[in-house]
């Protein structure tokens, strides 16, 4: 059977076919759909959303030690969070095969940086595979698990946005039931104390030698001989781009197994071609190792190391070719930045926060990061998940220490709070800063497309479970001042902010209202209702003051011809934020 799948869907299918029985992940573009597509294989694979990537990898490690084939998936920055268990599981080795899928995001389509996670394989000394299309994404899962078990190593399964989110035709296979391997207690192997670690490190180095031999012989690294004037070494999506540009006018060493690199094969290939190019996206990962082995090549002096690669860049850099294009003056076009949706519960909160004076807002990652955009501009920092609270704590302590009269408001989403915000809040509770922490609980993981999380009451595979109650959690760790408010009620928001900003104690505000795009659960309907309204501008009363547009709602347009606001009825959901913002009562709510 053939199907048209994204790389992520193909990895899910690969996990199914390869007999994986345990999968855990934390969502993150471009990796999210891997677990979403493993979820439905309920009969055969247990799959879950973990609260963060470290937990996801550790859970997969546990399953692997127990003897099951296991998979953990995450976006590139997730591997930073999961690096600690990765580096040590690299020492102990596996029982059931384990793969860690790292989905990198060259070009930063949806990320805060473009780190090249191939370096992690080398750094942690684990084997690495890199698929270059959807078919390989499926097939390499099985290959990687076999490598994992044969060489006793976790395998880094490195993908990039264009592999994850491009579709290609995939030929299906059958599921292989590998069952569970026998678990044997083995203290020297699995208890990584210094004495054992010293022995394990020696084994790791031996393993790398064996893996390099394998790398030289495996079909995952294959040579395609054509014209030998140009030889190209490439992997992942860059290989497809190179093929697109050179077709059969060059020879290729196509690398699918990229750590350790097949140095012997590379040398043989290099010896036979006249000019050797290394074409890779982001870092000179392959190039540096090739050069270190004394082989000359052309790489990053022509291929950029910043941003996403594409065939045009390669054609221009190496062949000096560019296609003719239609000239058009783009300067008259207006940008289209992403915005909070009409009816987004974050809007009311940020609208009020933007009016508070003398505050520093430490932000975090999620839809609410859009609170930093105009016209709200109500966020000062965004570093990494969880940092809003801890960085906010540090900033408040520093301000207080130096007598700077400034208050810090830390803003974090519900999923992000469960991710790493809880430990940060512990810092505040323990070390007592009067930081105001605001948890924007929209009852779902919004930004990445609505994944369940510990606060939603449901699991990835649809099981109904007790939800973690955020107010009780905050109180139990020692924050006494905890308030839950409705972010769509502007006076409630303003009052809660004023009260907490006046306090010398740590405090938490929880804004609780579901994401406007969330498919409501029965519990949501019971708690929040399900009525549909729209808001309308009363033309006669509108004074054209534009205050409603300061909420940044995409449904509100200001008609400069008649100098009046207008609400797009197709977009409006009747959240009433603009209605409360209007100083002239010129907006009213009407039934649908």
């Amino acid at each position: 059977m053939k199907k048209f799948l994204t790389g992520n869907e193909a990895v899910a299918r690969g996990a199914y076919e390869a007999g994986v029985t345990f999968a855990s992940a934390y969502p993150g573009t471009p990796s999210t759909e891997i677990l979403e597509n493993i979820g439905p294989y309920k009969e055969d694979i247990y799959a879950e959303w973990a609260p963060n990537e470290k937990v996801a990898l550790e859970a997969a490690i546990g399953a692997s030690i127990a003897g099951a084939r296991a998979l953990a998936a995450m976006k590139h920055v997730g591997v930073n969070v999961a690096a600690d268990p990765l580096f040590t599981y690299a020492y102990t080795g596996v029982n059931g095969g384990l793969i860690l899928v790292s989905a990198d995001d060259p070009g930063m389509h949806s990320s805060q940086n473009e780190q090249d996670n191939r370096n992690y394989a080398k750094f942690a000394k684990v084997a690495m595979v890199e698929p270059s299309d959807s078919q390989e994404a499926k097939d390499f899962v099985k290959a990687a698990l076999e490598i994992s078990e044969k060489f006793d190593t976790p395998v880094l399964f490195r993908m990039t946005t264009r592999i994850c989110h491009s579709k290609g035709i995939v030929e299906f296979g059958e599921r292989e039931e590998v069952g569970i391997k026998e678990y044997e207690k083995n203290i020297p192997k699995y208890v990584a104390i210094p004495a054992n670690g010293r022995v394990l490190h020696v084994k790791v180095e031996e393993r790398l030698k064996k893996l390099e031999e394998f790398s030289n012989t495996t079909e995952l690294n294959r040579i395609e001989w054509n014209d030998k004037k140009i030889g190209i070494i490439s992997s992942g999506i860059a290989y497809q781009y190179a093929k697109e540009v050179f077709g059969d006018k060059a020879s290729y060493l196509k690398l699918g197994f990229t750590f350790p690199l097949p140095m012997k094969k590379i040398k043989d290939f290099a010896d036979q071609v006249k000019k050797l190019y290394v074409i890779e996206e982001l870092e000179p990962y392959i190039e540096e190792q090739i050069r270190a082995a004394g082989i000359d090549c052309i790489g990053k002096e022509v291929i950029p190391r910043i941003g996403e690669l594409n065939p045009d860049i390669i054609a221009k850099a190496i062949l000096g070719e560019e296609r003719e294009t239609i000239s058009f003056d783009e300067s008259k076009l207006v940008s289209r930045p992403p915005t909070m949706c009409a009816g987004c519960p974050h809007r009311g909160f940020f609208y009020e926060l933007s009016k508070k004076k003398n505050v520093m807002v430490t932000g975090d990652i999620g839809c609410y990061t859009l609170g930093s955009a105009e016209p709200l501009s109500a966020m000062d920092t965004c570093i990494c998940m969880g940092a809003s609270i801890s960085a906010g704590h540090g900033a408040q302590k520093a301000f207080n220490k130096h007598g700077v009269d400034k208050r810090v408001v830390a803003v974090i989403g519900d999923s992000t709070f469960f991710h790493t915000g809880v430990t940060s809040l512990l810092d505040i509770a323990y070390n007592r800063s009067n930081t105001v922490t605001v948890i924007l609980d929209n009852r779902i993981t919004g930004m990445t497309g609505h994944q369940e999380n510990p606060g939603t009451g449901y699991t990835l595979q649809g099981e109904k479970v007790p939800f973690i109650d955020i107010p009780s959690l905050c109180k139990s760790i020692g924050i006494e001042n905890v308030k839950t408010i409705n972010p769509l009620k502007l006076d409630e928001v303003s009052k809660a902010l004023d009260e907490t900003l006046a306090s010398d104690e740590p405090s938490v505000i929880i804004t609780r209202w579901p994401c406007v795009l969330k498919k409501p659960t029965p519990e949501d309907i019971e708690e929040f209702g399900n009525e549909k309204f729209v808001c309308e501008v009363l033309k006669g009363d509108c004074k054209g003051c534009r205050i409603c547009t300061k909420t940044g709602c995409p449904a509100i347009e200001f008609d400069s011809n008649i100098k009046k606001a207008k609400i797009n009825e197709d977009m409006c959901v009747g959240c009433e934020v603009c209605l409360q913002a209007c100083p002239f009562d010129a907006i009213e709510k009407v039934g649908e």
Partner: protein, 192 residues
């Protein structure tokens, strides 16, 4: 490689572009082509510009389309056409939905929606503009706008020999099949 054809669909998050390209690529796959498609997820979907790229032929390597390479640019929103016109082959065609979605800087009154884009483009290349949203509304569901666009697209690029109605029967929900088939036919009528 020269036999590979390139279709670029552009618009704004929420306009149904991903479904349109799914319909398209399913039909192409059924017709025996090698097909690759690239889509955008994540941040941009929140009201930002979105694009999907479909490439088909004997054998396709890259899933993405280069500048000056698209055989057809299908634009679901007028201003987006301008942003992607660079990607059109100089001999390519443009099909545009005469529809405006105001972006944030326009909504808050900082900028104005640009005028005259279509007039300028018509002087430079083969452009078909029509109101797909109105057609979809007349049919009774604005959401079928994407299928109206698919209809126009397959006609414009000469793929109307593929049984698209069959594809629709297999991709959209039962109760929406009839209206989508009508949308497809209407779309095809828009292109000579």
């Amino acid at each position: 490689m020269s036999d590979v054809k390139n279709i670029l669909l552009v618009g704004v998050g929420g306009q149904g572009i991903i479904l349109a390209s799914k319909i398209l690529s399913t039909g192409l796959m059924n017709a025996g082509y090698d097909v690759k498609m690239s889509e955008v997820h994540g941040m941009a979907q929140r009201g930002g510009s979105v694009t999907t790229q479909v490439r088909f032929g004997e054998k396709v390597y890259s899933p993405i389309i280069g500048k000056g390479q698209a055989d057809i640019l299908v634009s679901f929103e007028k201003m987006e056409t301008g942003k992607w016109i660079e990607y059109l082959n100089v001999k390519g065609k443009v099909v545009v939905n005469d529809y405006e979605i105001l972006s944030a800087p326009i909504l808050i009154g900082k900028e104005e929606y640009p005028r005259g884009i279509m007039e300028e483009l018509k002087e430079k290349t083969d452009v078909t503009v029509f109101k797909a949203a109105d057609i979809a509304k007349e049919l009774g569901n604005i959401r079928t706008m994407n299928v109206v666009m698919v209809g126009a697209l397959v006609k414009a690029i000469g793929l109307d020999n593929i049984d698209w109605e069959e594809v629709l029967r297999n991709t959209v929900k039962e109760k929406y099949i009839d209206i989508n088939i009508k949308a497809l036919r209407k779309g095809m009528e828009q292109v000579k």
